[in-house]
Every structure is written in structure tokens, then in C-alpha cells.
């Protein structure tokens, strides 16, 4: 009915603009809030929320208690609800929407839900309107009517969907629920009778949750890589702290300290009634000896050449603190690569990428020249490399005489340099197997090491050819110390 018609029938009608996007967002928030009952929640259509409570109902003292708690809380927020718990998603959906109107939650006893479904109308099967209309036209009005029909005839006449929905509702076909977010591997929850808002209490709750989670991880021999601490506010919003660790960890002090640094970003609003800590990515972490706190840590005399990789265990807490404030990508290490293109010979790799693989790679394929430029595999002297390398190289204005000469003067970063000494050229060409590289402007570079009057040493290269459509250009690629 158009709005104008409705207003003509009933002039005092209160109207509100439809806001589907807002409604969907609100429903999503509600589904997220329902995460206090189970991690497996998702919004359903435009007016429903599905919660998979298998295995979590006992935490609330049974299904009845859970449903009562849910209804009471939603009532407090002035939401009209219709709650149903059943063996299958289809049966719960049907019961919640089409069972006899009662304000109380409907709980179908476990076991056969065919009997409960039989008296419901065919609309309860989550079919599109055209199909239900067709079913009604031939006199199939109740779910029970359908169940009595030969299945292949039904499928031929009304499509596979009808039999599939029927089977799903009756539990003959599985119907997995895809949760709103990623389902966590481990999850611990702390609920409060009285909402809390004091920062000290939040910290205490966080510490308790971490202490709760850690034994479970220890039992499984795993450590957390990604954690999510959700603060469920009284008003239904969820404040989250998401953490990543550079290496799997289950050190309660360390994890609590990481959360503590971010606790001030949590706005408790009118109070927080639930705190849920979930570990998402876990990785194997073998049990280790528990260290006694040392008053002044000894200088660690580590042998070996692995450096960061080998003593990662010691500095992992530091890396996590740095990574969680500056971003895990900001903490990196050098990784030598087998390439003679200078900017590819040594790349920055975020520290969070598993070091074991890298270590093995490094051992199996030592890259001559990229680590120690003076010594190559066969004792050949490699040319020196700069301490600073600019990526991309910076173009300079240069003057030179003969085609193969280094420049005698160049200007870079608003400074002029007069070249007094030069070494070169060292020709570095694009690797021939790089297909896309062959067309690059700087596919062939002639490198010169030049020294200016002050004694500063630069790494210049020229690219392009004389008398070619790509005329030569000069770039500063690095600065020597």
C-alpha cells in the first residue's frame, strides 16, 4: 500500500523512513553481541540472528536458562523477540517465526523434530514466495503434507530446493552455519553480575582471562599468534582489542602486558558485562622450562650465525611490543636473496613471517656476495656496496663527456657535487628470466662509484643509450660510507 493511501485511511499514522543499511548494521551488531553465548553467530535475513549453541548451553545452565537470559537481556533493550531452540537450523527458524504466538522461548526437545514441524505452514521452510504459492495452489499447505508426498515427484514439480529445505529442517541433511567472523580456536569468557567500567577492573579481568586461556594452550602444546579481546558493553556494543604476536606465545605475563598497553583505547560506556578472549591463529609451541626471574639478566653469550633467528625466543616479547604499537610490518629483518640486482639482493622481511623457513633457506643457499661483498664463493673480490640504498633510485642532473664516462658534475637533493674520482662501470643487467623486466627503462645499468671534492662517495648509474629513443639518464642509487 502506498504511503499516501495509508495516510488517507488513517491520518494520524506515524511514519519513519526505511533505512535498510542502518537496520542491517544494527542487526550485525546484535549478532556480534550474541557472541557472548557462542562464537558461532550470524545475522539471518533482515530480521533474525542465528546462534549455534551446541556445546555452550551447559555454560549457562541448560538451554532453558540460556534462552531466558537472552530474552531478559533483549527485553531490557526493548526488542520484541521470538526465540526458538531446535536441533536444526531450519526447525529453529520455522518455530521462531511460525509457532503459536507466545512470548516465551520455544524449545523443541532433542530428537525428532518432524512432529513439531508438521503443523507449520509451508512458508516455514524458507522457500521463495513463488514456490510456496505453487505448493499452496495444489493444496500442500502444511509441512506435514509435504513430508507425506513422494519426494521425487515433489522435486520434479517444485525444484530441488523444496526437498532440500525439508531435509535440512528435519535434520536429514546437514546445514552448517557460517559464523559472522572467524571462529576462534580457543575462547574464554568472563561475565559480571554488575557491569564494570573501572580501568583497574578491566585490567584485572584481562589478566584473569589470559590466565584462564594459557593452561589450555599449554595443554595442547600451542601458542597464540592472533588474539581478540572483546568487551561486551551494556548497550550491546562490542569494543575489541586485536593483537598479533611475532611468534606463538603463551606467556601470561607477556600477553597481559600486550593487552594492558591498549586497554586505554577501550571505551567502557555505561559498563561492560562480558569480556571474551579468543585465540584465533595458534601454532605449535613445544613446552619449555619455566624461567626463574633473574634480578639482572645475564649477558647472553650466543654462538652461531643465525643472529635474530636463533635468539628470537629471547627478544620475542620485545618484538611483539614494538609490532603492536608500530604495526607488525614495521619490524623486519634483512633477508639475502639470490639476485644481482642491488635492490633485490637484500630485502626487508617482516619479522612475523616464520623464521624457520628462512633459516633453512639461508643454510641451503648461501648467497655469495650479498652478505659479505668482499668474498665471493670462489674467492673473487666483489665490488663494494653502499650503506644506504635508495629504492627507487633518485634521478640526478649530470654532465659527462664521452658516452662511457662517469659524470664530472651532478646535482642531487639541491646540492652540487664535483666528481674527483670514479670507479666503474659495473654493468648490472636485468635478469633474463624476468619477462616484464626486459621492457623496463632501467633494464641495463652501468654503475659507477664516484667521489666528490668533500670525499663523499656515491653510487651512480646510467641507464639508456646514446642515439636511442631512450636517451641516457643518471640516478643516485646509494651512498657509501
Amino acid at each position: 500500500m502506498p504511503l499516501a493511501d495509508a495516510l488517507s485511511f488513517f491520518p494520524g499514522l506515524a511514519t519513519a523512513a526505511a533505512e535498510p543499511a542502518e537496520d542491517a548494521a544494527a542487526l550485525r551488531r546484535l549478532a556480534e553481541w550474541c557472541g557472548r553465548y557462542s562464537p558461532w553467530t550470524a545475522p539471518d535475513g533482515i530480521d533474525g540472528v542465528k546462534i549455534e549453541i551446541t556445546g555452550s548451553a551447559h555454560l549457562w545452565g541448560g538451554e532453558e536458562a540460556l534462552a531466558a537470559d537472552l530474552m531478559a537481556r533483549l527485553d531490557r533493550r526493548h526488542l520484541t523477540t521470538s526465540i526458538a531452540i531446535a536441533d536444526t537450523l531450519g526447525a529453529a527458524w520455522a518455530t521462531a517465526r511460525f509457532a503459536e504466538a507466545s512470548r516465551l522461548p520455544v524449545i523443541l526437545p532433542p530428537g525428532d523434530c518432524r512432529a513439531a514441524l508438521a503443523p507449520l505452514p509451508v512458508e516455514a521452510l524458507r522457500l521463495d514466495p513463488a514456490t510456496t504459492q505453487g505448493l499452496r495452489r495444489v493444496g500442500l499447505k502444511r509441512v506435514g503434507d509435504l513430508a507425506a508426498m513422494p519426494r521425487d515427484a515433489l522435486a520434479r514439480r517444485f525444484g530441488e530446493t523444496v526437498t532440500r529445505r525439508l531435509d535440512q529442517a528435519q535434520g536429514d541433511l546437514p546445514e552448517p552455519l557460517s559464523p559472522l567472523g572467524e571462529a576462534p580456536t580457543r575462547r574464554v569468557r568472563l561475565s559480571f553480575a554488575e557491569p564494570i567500567a573501572d580501568p583497574a577492573n578491566l585490567l584485572r579481568a584481562t589478566e584473569r582471562l589470559v590466565e584462564d586461556l594459557v593452561p589450555r594452550l599449554a595443554q595442547e602444546g600451542t601458542g597464540a599468534r592472533r588474539l581478540d579481546l572483546g568487551f561486551h558493553r551494556v548497550d550491546g556494543r562490542v569494543e575489541r582489542i586485536r593483537l598479533g604476536t611475532a611468534r606463538p606465545s603463551r606467556d601470561p605475563r607477556h600477553l597481559a602486558a600486550l593487552f594492558k598497553e591498549r586497554l586505554d583505547t577501550v571505551d567502557p560506556g555505561l559498563g561492560i558485562e562480558d569480556v571474551i578472549l579468543a585465540a584465533f591463529a595458534v601454532e605449535p609451541l613445544p613446552p619449555e622450562q619455566i624461567e626463574l626471574p633473574h634480578p639482572n639478566p645475564p649477558r647472553l653469550a650466543g654462538e652461531g650465525r643465525e643472529g635474530a633467528g636463533e635468539r628470537g625466543g629471547d627478544i620475542a616479547p620485545l618484538l611483539d611490543r614494538l609490532g603492536n604499537r608500530l604495526g607488525l610490518a614495521a619490524v623486519s629483518r634483512f633477508e639475502p636473496c639470490e639476485s644481482h640486482i642491488p635492490e633485490r639482493a637484500s630485502v626487508h622481511v617482516p619479522i612475523s613471517i616464520a623464521p624457520a623457513k628462512v633459516g633453512a633457506q639461508r643454510q641451503s643457499a648461501p648467497v655469495p656476495g650479498s652478505l659479505d661483498p668482499r668474498l665471493c664463493g670462489d674467492g673473487e673480490i666483489q665490488p663494494p656496496r653502499p650503506v644506504r640504498l635508495f629504492d627507487p633510485p633518485e634521478q640526478v642532473e649530470a654532465f659527462w663527456l664521452l658516452p662511457d664516462d662517469p659524470p664530472f658534475r651532478f646535482a642531487w637533493r639541491r646540492r652540487r657535487h664535483r666528481v674527483t674520482r670514479a670507479d666503474g662501470p659495473e654493468r648490472i643487467a636485468e635478469e633474463w628470466w624476468q619477462l616484464e623486466g626486459s621492457s623496463a627503462v632501467d633494464a641495463i645499468r652501468d654503475y659507477y662509484r664516484v667521489e666528490d671534492e668533500e670525499g663523499r662517495r656515491f653510487w651512480l648509474f646510467r641507464t639508456g643509450l646514446h642515439g636511442h629513443d631512450r636517451s641516457p639518464h643518471w640516478f643516485v642509487h646509494g651512498v657509501f660510507s
Partner: protein
């Protein structure tokens, strides 16, 4: 009587500790060049202290020479079985591993922390100075307050981790403003590149023409000790002798050639 005599060195050590707290508590790292070590209190660079390294001219912005000087020291600090990780905090990812390896610092020992702001770099340095397993912390910092440098110095003293501040400025204006401000670092160095001597064998590639007769020789630096607690300012002309990061007095100025280097120091990194 014998007992009393044995106690004498111990008492001397205690007095020395009272006189020069930082150098004596955590020991020193000698440069291996007698002329430099003679000047520094304790005979080397104090461990567990904050050292500041400045560039000169255009290098105040690029920070290449200062990084090379620091890499040489760090190579000796972490090399030869000492181990440890070096935390290097920098605003731009322009540090180049193979270049550092040329100064004797194994790039695999480095953990790089990139942060755009000075305050974040100082924070990361301070965190690093509290962590066991870290051998040294390096930070490339532009603006530095006296309080921030004091905090770093205290953190270094407490943990025994050596800290290096590489001063790197945006432009010459900022450099002029910041260059002479006092801070709490134990030593302040200024390293400037100076023209190299042509190598003994002239480079055959570029003969004749417009004066490209000789190639670039061994890198030379003018190392100035601008300030040091318990020592006089001094200045040396040094030449980077080899890939191990040892520096030696430039042969033209010193009365002996480059310091001899044991062969096993040519260690393949990685």
C-alpha cells in the same frame, strides 16, 4: 700480608668505579687502534652507555658515514662469538644489508624497526634497551630533547646494552638548529668522509682523458671526538682497512701501516 696485597687491585677497581661509573661497570669496547683507545677513558668505547654519532655536510641528511662507523663498532660488538641482536630503529628503510656486511656487521643480526616519527623511534630504542638478548640499539633520530637522551642513557646504564644515536636531519636548517644542542650522551662523535688516496695500482679501466686517472681508494674518514666524559676532544684521520670493520689510522698520518688483521676475521656471514 699476602691477603692484603691481593685486595689492593680490588680496592683500586672500586675507586675507579666510583670515579667513572659507566665505563667501569659494563666494561669497554676497544677500537683496536692505539691512538684512539689511548684517548678514551678505560681504553675504549664504554658499553652500557649512549653514544651519539653525527655526520657532516650533506651526510647529515643521508647518514651514510655515521651508519658505516656505527656498523664497524657493532660488528666488533656482536662478532667473534659475542652474539646478540642489534635493534636498528630508522625512519626510512634505506639501510642496505650488503653495505653493512662490508663494515663487518652481519646483517642477519639486525632487527629493523621502521617508525616515521622521532618520538616513536625513541620509544622503540628505550624498549630495546630493556630487553635481554639485545646487544646494542641504534636509532636514527632528528629532534632530540635533553630529557629523551637522559632517559636513553639511564636505560643503557641499567641494562648494560650499548646505544647509538645516529643524528639524521631533514635539511641543513634543522641540522644547524640541532647540531650543537647539549644532551646526555657519554660521547659525541662527528664523522666526515674525506678524499681517499688513490689505490697503489691505478685502475686500468679509465686511463687518460679528463682526469679519471685513478679510481676511488679505501674509504677515509675524519673522526672527531667532539665530547666525551672524562676525555679531551680529539680528531683522527682514519681509513677503513678491510671488511671486518676495524679502522686504522690513515697510513699517511700514522707511523705504521694499516693494523694487521688476523685472517680468520674474514668470516663468511650468514
Amino acid at each position: 700480608m699476602i691477603e692484603q696485597r691481593a685486595r689492593l687491585p680490588e680496592l683500586r677497581e672500586r675507586i675507579r668505579r666510583i670515579e667513572q661509573p659507566t665505563a667501569a661497570v659494563h666494561g669497554v669496547l676497544p677500537f683496536g687502534v692505539a691512538a684512539i683507545d689511548r684517548v678514551l677513558p678505560g681504553g675504549g668505547l664504554a658499553r652500557g652507555a649512549l653514544h651519539e654519532i653525527l655526520g657532516m655536510g650533506g651526510d647529515e641528511e643521508d647518514g651514510a658515514v655515521a651508519a658505516g662507523f656505527a656498523a664497524g663498532i657493532l660488528g666488533r660488538l656482536t662478532g667473534a662469538g659475542n652474539g646478540g641482536t642489534v635493534l636498528w630503529c630508522l625512519p626510512r628503510p634505506d639501510l642496505y644489508g650488503p653495505g653493512l656486511a662490508g663494515h663487518g656487521l652481519d646483517p642477519a643480526r639486525l632487527v629493523l624497526v621502521q617508525a616515521p616519527r622521532d618520538s616513536e623511534i625513541l620509544w622503540a630504542m628505550e624498549e630495546g634497551l630493556r630487553a635481554p638478548g639485545i646487544a646494542a640499539v641504534v636509532g636514527e633520530v632528528g629532534t632530540l630533547t635533553a630529557v629523551a637522551s637522559r632517559r636513553l642513557q639511564l636505560a643503557a646504564e641499567r641494562s648494560g646494552i650499548t646505544a647509538f644515536l645516529l643524528r639524521r636531519w631533514r635539511d641543513s636548517g634543522q641540522a644547524a638548529r640541532e647540531r650543537n644542542l647539549p644532551d646526555a650522551a657519554v660521547t659525541r662523535w662527528r664523522i666526515a668522509a674525506s678524499p681517499s688516496q688513490p689505490p697503489p695500482i691505478p685502475s686500468p679501466a679509465r686511463g687518460g682523458g679528463v682526469g679519471w686517472g685513478s679510481g676511488v681508494g679505501c674509504p677515509r674518514w675524519r673522526v672527531e671526538l667532539l665530547r666525551c666524559r672524562g676525555a679531551e676532544p680529539a680528531c683522527w684521520e682514519v681509513e677503513k682497512a678491510n671488511a671486518t670493520g676495524f679502522v686504522s689510522l690513515a697510513s699517511a698520518l700514522a707511523d705504521r701501516p694499516a693494523a694487521p688483521v688476523p685472517a680468520e676475521r674474514f668470516r663468511r656471514a650468514g
